[in-house]
């Protein structure tokens, strides 16, 4: 999965690539964190899991996105210990982030609905 930044050198994978918009990645990250706080590695693993391996978020996209979300105030970070006793940076949703997730989800659903209707138009 690539994000929409043209000056990033991408590691092209042999498997199928789907283009995803930056906003969509943000949405996925927020959703993931809504379930429980976790570190960057955990987020990417969880997204893979939840999407049945379809969505594999590249680190080049994930970390900048996470940092941006933090700067925007939707999530916050704190240092903690991982499940295997390593020092890791954990992220969790803020109240504003929760609201944002709800809004973005609604927008996404409306959009997806509209797009599929157009595509199904005979």
């Amino acid at each position: 999965m690539t994000s929409d930044r043209s000056d990033r050198r991408d590691d092209t994978r042999p498997d199928t690539r789907r283009e995803l918009l930056q906003g969509t990645l943000d949405l996925l990250i927020l959703k993931t964190l809504a379930l429980e706080p976790m570190h960057g590695w955990g987020i990417s693993q969880r997204i893979r899991q939840m999407s049945d391996e379809v969505l594999q978020v590249h680190q080049g996209s994930l970390y900048p996105a996470v940092h941006r979300l933090e700067r925007q105030g939707w999530i916050r970070s704190s240092w903690g210990t991982s499940e295997n006793n390593r020092r890791a940076k954990f992220y969790e949703l803020t109240a504003a982030g929760r609201k944002r997730l709800a809004e973005e989800t609604e927008t996404w659903e409306l959009l997806a609905d509209a797009v599929s209707r157009v595509l199904q138009f005979a």
Partner: protein, 897 residues
């Protein structure tokens, strides 16, 4: 809310950079470790797991960079980065950098130095409480041509009673000198004024020590007091805390010290020593002379909420009513007011603003020069910038970088300029000492520094943005292709130069022309002033003043006797050609003016506003004033002989036309019926410049020493000025002689205000001299900068056209013709600038009109000379590079490239 947090995060990032870096490292490391673990769990070896993890992660640094981008404050960081890069880049080209900094320093330094003067003299508020509520009041009389004249005491007192627009009105006399005695360490002459009792109150100034003056102290109470200035108190009394109540003597009159003024307050002069109250008898209030003697300088404080206009209207109305009530004294008299700030600066405002504008022009020339230099430099850097562009830097980024570089350069130039301004302000302070008021307030302080910073930033943007935009626009591909042809590629035009550079040089030339013309006009005007005949001979003559106070010389006979004795003794000395006394000297202002009538004139015809001077018989001879008709004074003309007068040329011309006034009789009153003393005119002398060299003649009547006692008011003149004409060249040699002679007559009379007549003439022209010097300096700087600009442009042009020149020479063209062509093109460009500049000078010269004396703003000689000067320098600047062109070896140029 989130935006706030966003800004907060960005700011935090700036502050906590190292910590964030570590966090980022740790975060990435953690991810890699987890992936490595996962890989190992899948069965890879440790090395395989690690390399797989790194590969799948992608570029670690790029990810970090992306994260930093998301977090940091990009514009600030990149700007700092750009600035550092700019400094490195500037250090690599020291010649350019140094030249640019020097040029900028000249521009910024000059502007800042002059602004510090403008700020201190014109803009800075007076160091008084609520200074903008203070106004100077004055009387005017259209008939006499009086404007902003002193007020008569009776009028002032009526203003106080009849107006409501002021919380207080006070006044002071002209500055006087008193002999201070009764103190240890000998007599000294101090300067002071007489004031109304409420003087300090109106100014809002409380005495540092002591009660100060009673508000009605100007009415004589028998007790005589004095308030000392802080400076005098420290200097002569050692800051004695017990000074209040002490008795000192001023001009032999004992006075009690009533207080000390706070430090810094010395109104109305910059080095005043004392204030004493007027000594008016109650009977004065209704006396006619009390309403006629215009001897006060009033100052008022506006009441809260009252504007200047309203107060002015009320004052004018009161003056009108007084004119009705007292037609004999107040007919045609009006009253007005001026804010005190404006009043203290006088007419120094206009020339200063003109000078500031001139420095602005110099700054523009400097910016044009630097812009030109930058354009030349960025053309050479074309390849480097093209590479950056090809690598993906957006145009705005490149422009921003170039602008940052310009601003960095400007910053260095600005710093150098500020240093130059410090020095320049000190020099200006010395040069302008007699020409400008309030020089003590001139310094490079906060507002001036802020101005310097603003000017520097503006200059940086001015010369930076243009070249930056140009550079970013240049087609990258061609620049990358190479050779030194980068410059001639785009719009080569004439001389193989882009039109922007030619335009810059054109404007430089035009601006330099304007400044040179301005300086030339002032120079001619100054020469006119200096060549004006002051009406007397100034070489070999010195002047000194002394006082004969009433306390020591109560009888008029003794006053006259001492003066005559002094003259007699002086003239007997070898080395003294002649000596004379006068009640006032030329170029120092008229002290006593009055009206006069002639014996056969009708009652409604009279001469107004002549200057009366009392002079000793040898005056005209000593001063070298020619006697045009009749005779001067003889020793026999004194208080016991027939009353006589001598008039000057202006008075004779104005009131007697072609007829000779000799033999006619004059009285110092308007109506012949009131005349008590008729004085016969015995001669006409040439005019002396009374007010200033440029003001022209003024009607004068001279009274011989002693005859001032005849008629009204019949008082001897107690503040004579002495003039000594020495036999040798240096008049200063007379001073110790006079001192000794005076001391022998009376040791308690101090001699003061020693000056030579040549110094007096120079002092009168001091402001003109200052203006001319400064504008001349600015014009020279602008000329130098413009010449450098032309030279730089021509050198570059020759460089750009090397191939073409080489080809021509190879084809057989004579070197002379080649040079001629280049010079011709260069001078054509210069000519366009010259024409533009002359046109501009014609338009702008009107601004100088008020400063010029006997010179028209469009004076053709000046214009022609300026054009010639500039053409000569431009020719030199063009010729030099052209000659190197002629020496180009055609084989060499054809081979390279």
């Amino acid at each position: 809310m989130s935006r706030l947090r966003s800004v907060w995060h960005r700011l935090l990032t700036l502050v906590g950079r190292p910590r964030l870096e570590r966090d980022l490292d740790d975060e990435v490391r953690f991810h890699l470790e987890m992936e490595i673990e996962q890989n190992r769990a899948r069965g890879m070896s440790r090395r395989e797991a690690r390399s797989a993890a790194l590969r799948s992660f992608g570029g670690v640094d790029q990810v970090k960079e992306a994260c930093r981008d998301e977090r940091g404050v990009p514009w600030l960081e990149t700007t700092v980065q750009d600035a550092r890069w700019a400094v490195r880049s500037l250090r690599k080209t020291p010649a350019f950098t140094l030249t640019a900094i020097v040029v900028l320093a000249l521009g910024v330094g000059g502007t800042t130095a002059l602004f510090s003067v403008v700020h201190g003299v014109l803009l800075e508020p007076l160091p008084l409480p609520e200074p903008d509520r203070l106004v100077a009041l004055w009387e005017s009389n259209e008939e006499r041509g009086w404007d902003r004249a002193n007020a008569a005491p009776a009028n002032l007192l009526d203003w106080r009673e009849r107006t409501e627009s002021f919380t207080g009105i006070t006044a002071h006399s002209w500055t006087q000198g008193w002999a201070l005695s009764g103190v240890s360490a000998g007599p000294e002459r101090i300067r002071g004024v007489q004031v109304l009792g409420n003087f300090f109150e109106v100014f809002g100034v409380a005495p540092r020590i002591g009660p100060g003056l009673d508000p009605e102290a100007h009415w004589a109470t028998g007790e005589k007091v004095v308030v000392l200035s802080h400076g005098l108190w420290q200097r002569r009394f050692g800051g004695d805390r017990e000074i209040v109540g002490r008795r000192i003597e001023l001009d032999g009159v004992p006075r009690t010290v009533a207080g000390v003024a706070p430090p810094g307050f010395t109104y109305p002069e910059e080095d005043l020593d004392a204030w004493i109250p007027f000594d008016w008898q109650p009977g004065f209030r209704s006396a006619v002379w009390f309403r006629r003697a215009h001897m006060l300088r009033p100052v008022g404080r506006l009441a809260p909420g009252v504007g200047v206009d309203r107060a002015r209207e009320e004052l004018a109305a009161v003056a009108d009513r007084l004119a009705e009530e007292y037609p004999e004294t107040n007919r045609n008299f009006g009253a007005g007011l001026t804010p005190l700030r404006e009043w203290t600066t006088g007419d120094a405002g206009r020339p200063l603003w003109i000078l500031l504008a001139a420095t602005g022009l110099v700054l523009l020339v400097a910016c044009a020069d630097v812009a030109n230099l930058l354009l030349a430099r960025t053309t050479a850097r074309g390849r480097e910038l093209a590479l950056r562009s090809a690598l993906g830097a957006p145009r705005t980024r490149i422009v921003r970088q170039l602008v940052t570089e310009s601003l960095t350069l400007a910053a260095f130039g600005g710093l150098a300029g500020i240093a130059l301004a410090y020095w320049g302000t000190r020099v200006l302070g010395v040069l302008a000492r007699e020409a400008l008021p309030r020089l003590d307030a001139v310094s490079v302080d906060g507002p001036v520094l802020a101005f310097a910073v603003a000017v520097t930033a503006a200059a940086g943007l001015l010369f930076g943005v243009g070249p930056a935009l140009r550079m970013a626009r240049a087609p990258a591909a061609r620049a990358l292709q190479g050779g030194a042809r980068g410059g001639s590629s785009r719009g080569g035009g004439k001389l193989g130069l882009p039109s922007s550079r030619r335009l810059l040089v054109l404007s430089e030339v035009a601006l330099a022309v304007i400044l040179v013309v301005g300086a030339g006009l002032l120079l001619r005007s100054f020469r006119q002033v200096m060549e004006t005949d002051p009406g007397f001979r100034s070489a070999g003559r010195a002047a000194m003043s002394f006082d004969l106070p009433e306390a020591r010389y109560p009888e008029s006979e003794r006053v006259l006797a001492l003066q005559r004795e002094l003259l007699e003794r002086l003239e007997a000395r070898a080395g003294v050609e002649s000596a004379a006394l006068a009640s006032s000297l030329p170029l120092e202002g008229a002290q006593w003016t009055a009206d006069f009538t002639v014996d056969d004139w009708p009652p409604d015809r009279y001469g107004i506003d002549f200057a009366r001077r009392i002079v000793s018989p040898g005056y005209f001879q000593t001063m070298g004033v020619p006697v045009l008709l009749g005779r001067g004074f003889r020793p026999g003309d004194d208080e016991s002989s027939r009353p006589v007068v001598v008039v000057n040329e202006t008075l004779a011309r104005q009131h007697f036309g072609d007829q000779s006034p000799v033999g006619r009789r004059i009285a110092f009153t308007r109506d012949p019926a009131d005349a008590s003393v008729w004085r016969e005119v015995v001669g006409v002398v040439g005019d002396e410049a009374i007010e200033s060299l440029t003001a022209g003649g003024r009607p004068e009547i001279f009274v011989p020493l002693g005859q001032e006692l005849l008629g009204e008011p019949g008082l001897p003149h107690r503040h004579p000025d002495l003039v000594v004409h020495t036999a040798g060249a240096d008049p200063a040699t007379a001073v110790p002689v006079v001192r000794g002679t005076l001391h022998a007559l009376d040791p308690a009379l101090p001699l003061y205000d020693v000056r030579t007549l040549e110094q007096m003439v120079a002092r009168d022209a001091s402001r003109q001299r200052l203006l001319t010097t400064l504008l001349g300096l600015f014009a020279l700087v602008a000329l130098a900068l413009a010449t450098v600009g032309i030279y730089g442009l021509m050198s570059y042009s020759v460089l750009q056209q090397r191939r073409e020149i080489g080809v021509r020479l190879a084809l057989g063209a004579r070197p002379g013709r080649v040079v001629g062509r280049i010079v011709g093109r260069g001078m054509a460009l210069f000519g366009a600038g010259l024409a533009l500049g002359l046109a501009g000078a014609l338009v702008l010269a009107r601004v100088l009109e008020s400063l010029l004396f006997r010179v028209e703003p469009t004076d053709p000689t000046t214009l022609a000379l300026a054009a010639a000067l500039l053409t000569a320098t431009a020719l030199a600047a063009t010729l030099l590079p052209a000659r190197t062109a002629a020496r180009i070896d055609p084989m060499e140029t054809l081979r390279t490239d």
